[in-house]
Amino acid sequence: MLSSPEGLPAAPPTDGEIAPPLLIARGITKHFGGVVALAGVDLTLRQGRVLGLLGANGSGKSTLSRIIAGELSSGGGEMHLAGAPLRHASPQDAARLGIVIAHQHPSLAPDMPVWENVFLGAELSYAGGFIDRAKARRRTTDVLSELGSRLDIAAPAGTLTAAGQQLVEIARALARRPRVLILDEPTAALAAAEVGHLFAAIRRLTEEGVSVIFISHRLAEIDTICDDILVMRNGRTAGAWTTSGRLDEGRILSLMTGDPDAVLREMGERRIGEPVLRLEGLRAGPAVRGVDLELRRSEIVGLAGLQGQGQVELLEAIAGDRRIDGGTLWHKDRAVSPRRPRDMINRGICLVPDDRRRQGLFSGETVGENIGYVLLALAPRPWHLPAEKLAALATRAIRRLLIKTDGPDQTVSALSGGNQQKVVIGKWLATDVEVMLLSDPTKGVDVHARSEIYAIIGELAQAGTAALVFASDVQELLLHCDRILVMYEGRIVEELSGDAMTEPRVMTAAFGKAAG
């Protein structure tokens, strides 16, 4: 028997009665280094109810739920569970109290079979710690069938599809018989039928008195399953209420984004030219499922949407850094099928990658060396080190991009995030950039450097470069782009330009509304 948490909740309150709070969090704060993730959040979870947690990317939803689940310690504030102060230091503590989380990104042991993953850390065992395999297999089958799944429970978890892994992650949470169940975007990888089964399972749990925190970007799901709503913005509670009737989407979106009308616009004079890059039904892996787009000279196009809708993968595929499985990529009048980034770099199509520290920079090397790598890579005679050319390039890049550094000999890791990003962009000055692909170039960059980076993009565009920019922050795209393409589940579902480029319209499309 899996030890059930002590003091299982009493019978659920009958309809009409006000369900008492089970979990209360007040003024929860959390800092990561200098970054404030939570700036004092309040949360009340009622017994036997489903609380929908909403907010834009980076609003702190996941941080809050990980704190409640004992995976992170809070920086301040207090929590109460069933009236008693809640001070748990680890996932073990939390599980003992009946608080269990299913993560957005399943974290499974890839080499172990499904059934072992479901009971990992809470093994069903005989006396002495020997595992009761038969029982664990049986219970796994039971839990999975509750979720309407017939996964092979003996298959190593690493061989499952994303949906399969998500189901295992959820099954693991259910198997622990929680009284507080946190589901962090459980439906992102699931098909509609699987979502239906999950909702049925959630309803059965709440009837037994289990409380659920449900995180999703899909408003329709929130509408279907949630009793209470909590909207977060910038690490704070932006609004909380009990639902009655249908959700007011406008209200939620404006709470999530702050003030949707206060959007400044700033457009340089640019003459948009002929098409340079055209995609027809481009597919790459499971993330990019058929993308059509056209990019013209001197044009700045924004790629919007929630995180993980295939934007990063699309940019990588265009840059030759990800295998293209189908569709056509036209560079001017020629269909190209890149096998490696070099193929595209030679055509002047360059990527400023998603993770600058891992993909964009040699952290231990100097600013000058980092800027010079492209020149070295493209040099016709690789055994010859064009020292003067390298030095000139570094100086030019530092001046042109306003990189704040002691000089080309400073180690690049000593620079601030924004200046590191400028170095990543600067290395492409060695070549004629026809198309610049930028994957979230202002991630972790302060406001000032952010506007400088867009100024650089604008300057390049004036000189004829076409830019395709993915940014997780919609505001900056609205501010700097000529057009915005919204991606949802690997496809472009909306194209906005001119007066149609407003945050509510982008957000609506980002939630898949325009498509469905």
């Binding site: 599980a95 974290s107 890839p110 172990m112 809470a122």
Partner: protein
């Protein structure tokens, strides 16, 4: 069949058959009882150290000090008078205690202080070796004959070394059905997932080191009983042999994947390779050279087979 392929043990079994066939051709009376017993007695310490390395590697770490640990324990056994510990069994108890202590030190350095195991155990290997030299600067010393008699004896007809190996494998098999064993694999497979599942990664890795070093202790007892003397270099070759055996046996150096049977097969393959080269009549100066070539080929064969299996 599917299980065999998944654990990657199949190619190493094939290799085992090949080396045994070669050995049987080259070594007169290979399958004769005296020669077989002799081979098993010689192989036992290697097998035990390889099994030890396998536990630690499965947990996602590595231990480059197992060889030096064997030497240190051997030197201690050759120094302590048997009367002081009350006979051969006392001496063995002492060896196991020291092994656990060494394992605990490595485990604590790697888990609590968080040093990379590759470097940390490289350093502790030097420490163990230094201590062993301090105890027995020149090969020598003497172990009581009673220890040797115990090792070369039989238990109801079964030679003691075979008994020890069977015991170690039994422990391993039980571990595979035990919470601890599965948690070791989980931690090696994906430490973040294990942590989020409520497993204490530190405690599990520490436990892996302790279990591993218990086997190292057994190996040291076995080798001491064979040589009946102390030598600060007696364990030298075991370290890298154990790492190679683990790889040949299809255990991922990244942790989390593999079985003890793989380590067993890898250990026997490497042990017999030395035999084959010896009996092939290769001049002694060239023996190491050919051993290196054979190990390289074995590893290459393994890696290619594993890649093929992964694609299939």
């Amino acid at each position: 069949m599917r299980a065999l392929r998944y654990t990657g043990i199949l190619p190493s079994l094939l290799m085992l058959v090949v080396v045994i066939a070669l050995n049987a051709r080259l070594q007169p009376h290979f399958f004769g009882l005296p020669s077989l017993e002799d081979n098993i007695a010689t192989l036992t310490p290697t097998i035990l150290v390889c099994l030890a390395q396998a536990v630690i590697v499965l947990s996602g770490e590595l231990d480059l000090s197992v060889g030096a640990g064997v030497s240190l324990i051997n030197c201690l056994l050759a120094t302590v008078p048997i009367s002081a510990v009350g006979g051969p069994w006392g001496l063995m108890g002492l060896a196991l205690l020291l092994a656990l202590a060494l394992g605990a030190i490595n485990g604590v350095i790697v888990t609590i202080f968080g040093l990379p195991s590759l470097i940390a155990t490289f350093a502790t290997a030097a420490v163990w070796f230094g201590l062993a030299l301090a105890l027995i600067p020149q090969p020598g010393g003497e172990l009581d004959q009673s220890v040797g008699d115990l090792y070369s004896g039989t238990v109801s007809g079964v030679p003691v070394p075979l008994f020890i190996v069977a015991g170690a494998l039994l422990i391993w098999t039980l571990l595979g059905r035990h919470r601890l064993g599965r948690r070791i694999v989980a931690v090696g497979s994906n430490p973040a997932a294990a942590f989020q599942a409520g497993i204490s990664v530190l405690r599990v890795k520490l436990a892996a080191y302790l279990v591993g070093w218990l086997l190292v202790g057994l190996a040291a007892i076995a080798i001491s009983a064979q040589t009946l003397s102390g030598d600060a270099r007696v364990g030298d070759t075991y370290t890298l042999t154990s790492v190679a055996a683990v790889v040949i046996g299809g255990i991922s150096l990244a942790g989390g994947r593999g079985t003890p049977w793989g380590a067993l097969v890898g250990a026997i393959v490497l042990g017999i390779v030395s035999n084959v080269i010896y009996f092939a009549g290769i001049p002694s100066i060239w023996q190491e050279f050919f051993k290196g070539i054979v190990i390289m080929s074995a590893l290459g064969f393994m890696v290619l087979e594993q890649k093929r299996a992964a694609v299939a």
